[in-house]
Symmetry: C2
Subunit: 450 residues, 2 copies
Amino acid sequence: MARILLLGAGRSASSLIQYLLRYAPVENWQLTVGDVNPAHLAPVLAAHSEFARAVPFSIEEEDRLEELVAAADVVISMLPALLHLTVAHACLRHRRHLATASYVSDDIRALGPEAEAAGITLLMECGLDPGLDHMSAMAVLRHIRARGGQLTSFKSYCGGLMAPDSEGNNPWRYKFTWNPRNVVLAGQGTAKYLEHGHPRYIPYQQLFRRTELLDVPGFGQFEGYANRDSLSYRAPYGLDAIPTILRGTLRRPGYCAAWAALVHLGLTDDSGRLGNPATMTWAELLESYLPVLRPGLQLPLSTRLAQYLNLAPESEEISRLQWLGLWSDEVVGLADATPAQLLERLLTRKWQLQEGDHDMIVMQHLFEFELNGKTHRSTSSLVVLGDDATHTAMAKTVGLPLGMAVRRLLRGELTQRGVVIPTSPDLYEPILAELRADYGIDFVEQETTR
Amino acid sequence: MARILLLGAGRSASSLIQYLLRYAPVENWQLTVGDVNPAHLAPVLAAHSEFARAVPFSIEEEDRLEELVAAADVVISMLPALLHLTVAHACLRHRRHLATASYVSDDIRALGPEAEAAGITLLMECGLDPGLDHMSAMAVLRHIRARGGQLTSFKSYCGGLMAPDSEGNNPWRYKFTWNPRNVVLAGQGTAKYLEHGHPRYIPYQQLFRRTELLDVPGFGQFEGYANRDSLSYRAPYGLDAIPTILRGTLRRPGYCAAWAALVHLGLTDDSGRLGNPATMTWAELLESYLPVLRPGLQLPLSTRLAQYLNLAPESEEISRLQWLGLWSDEVVGLADATPAQLLERLLTRKWQLQEGDHDMIVMQHLFEFELNGKTHRSTSSLVVLGDDATHTAMAKTVGLPLGMAVRRLLRGELTQRGVVIPTSPDLYEPILAELRADYGIDFVEQETTR
């Protein structure tokens, strides 16, 4: 018997829990789910009480954490990423494995040697992004290398979007399926990547203006903007000498140009509060950002905004901003807030998921390689649609790879100890095969030669 | 006898020390100067050994701090602003007064009631900016109120610049006389002020494009950009209902437009490292920021930069950037640095004070008020030139008001306890009079009516 402790059972854990319940009787697992609100799990676990239970848990209760970790063989943390370190320390004290869907932080990386000495695995980056991105990219890279190809370019994009049937009349073709605050603050800083052997830097103000258009078979066009740090992917992928590498985020075409206007206006700044009253309207807020009109001149706010942004008043960007209500009489609703907090509040209303909406995960890798004197281009594309409001595409693509990785770990099929990410074929090949066979989560590959 | 402890005797403390030495025999003071490098004070203090001594001091030595504070009646902290809190706590423990030239931080403000109960004064904001700005503005405001004027607009600018004889052929007409890092990062976030009763917000990318031109009698034109928070000045100045209030920073004309180009390029970003080698040249760094040229096209970097920035290649902005060496073959010299760190390193070479250079402090307040049905505009302007490399304008204007405030405190002329800033006439009037009479530091006032 193996004992699994899952900490944190928020929305994105639904498909993971379903997966663990599916295999618990087969693999002889006992599952304990610790959550601040265990009552909401009762309906899910009710039919499985012989091998699953929910218990109250909050990260502040140190003794409780010790007790739960001590009573498990492997701990899966779906808590916010910042809390993984606390859990990892408890795992080290009790010599328990840990698995998460989050990036290896510097703090976690530093625990590697200690974990290795203790004979435990800190299995990180096993969700979607990071996770499935590593697995699928490494599978193609391995295939290219096996054919003798010399990789010259690797670009990889991922986005959490809306299924086509759920975009409605929203001109952004976007709703929040993930932490709104992270979406509002996305990209701040300087993006760095490599192109033809040269470093490339994009400052935040330019980031959403320098996008790339991508075609995803069956789902049309998307635009991608560069993530903050593409360079750190070289080492784990074994691509230290690659001339071109870029990681990016996908949106539907037009989103980025309109978002660039919000950035230019200053509405994504989160570094200081405005001292505004909560009763200020959006029209008043926008007015406060625009240059003052010459006395006597009267122009509608939308015209002044268009002039200020160097856009045509009837442009798509302006119509997207209008759809948000950027010059409406709606009140901003938060006193003394940062611009980013006000924008997040507005967007949370406008980009709210509706009953019956389905989300969509899109991932595309783009490879270029030299083989037998020819340049080959190949793409590997994935689209996953949400089943419903519980088993969203996000929950499936984050939770299933993580559950599958834990299953391999408990079956003794993963023998690496210390900090591990899913970049070796003995881990990713069976997971990709299981995703394909049992869940229809499958990458479409295309290749052209010239 | 009164015992004064001065902590921190860096460059900007020279005029303060001179002032304290001048009054020590007259006022019967014993002065102890604590500094990490007390040896450099030997020549200054040598002739005054009967009432002044230098001792080694570093903020890490807690016992030393306790011992020195216990043996003083008033402590003057010229340490970096972040360290004042530690000193203030020691002052509270030993019931000693504290004086600084720094802003009241939230932490210091919170100590107010405790300080009041202990009967000690935490005398803050007694340097130049903050300090002399408060004193001089309050003096004019008091005069306007006494005449029955109704203030409608208050703007106040200050800048640390170069004396006209020391600008040389530097087209920026600027050199570092203050913390270079603060100059590079100045203005990040959103500037907020009030204009005709409406809040006005300027995001960082626009800050250096929305400047105001000012005339300073005898010294020509300056341009001012808004400081981050002008609103917080309303309460201490008693201007809670004023329709227009703005605080800003002065530069010579042209500086801001060229600086805006550096901001637009992304070279002031300090939020992440670039992963660059130290041997990268400035031309290579600039190339990494510019959009990629179409294959086959060959254009000089300066032309591409001008196109990218929407500037004429022969514009003043481009020539200022060229003078900095922005596309030179000079190496950036720092590996894996933030853009702001690289820019600071470049500027520190280019904007270095030369032997014999004199600095200059410029301050101008602009008032508008209604009196007897007429609109009055008045300005109060100050220009202070540095005497030499030791007694710079910066050292004089920071140190002399602070020394004078401490003198009043020790003479018993300042009876307020708790956190105090120099906005009451019993403190600022004698200080302004002493600055005028003994140091020629005098504001020029002009008024027009229409």
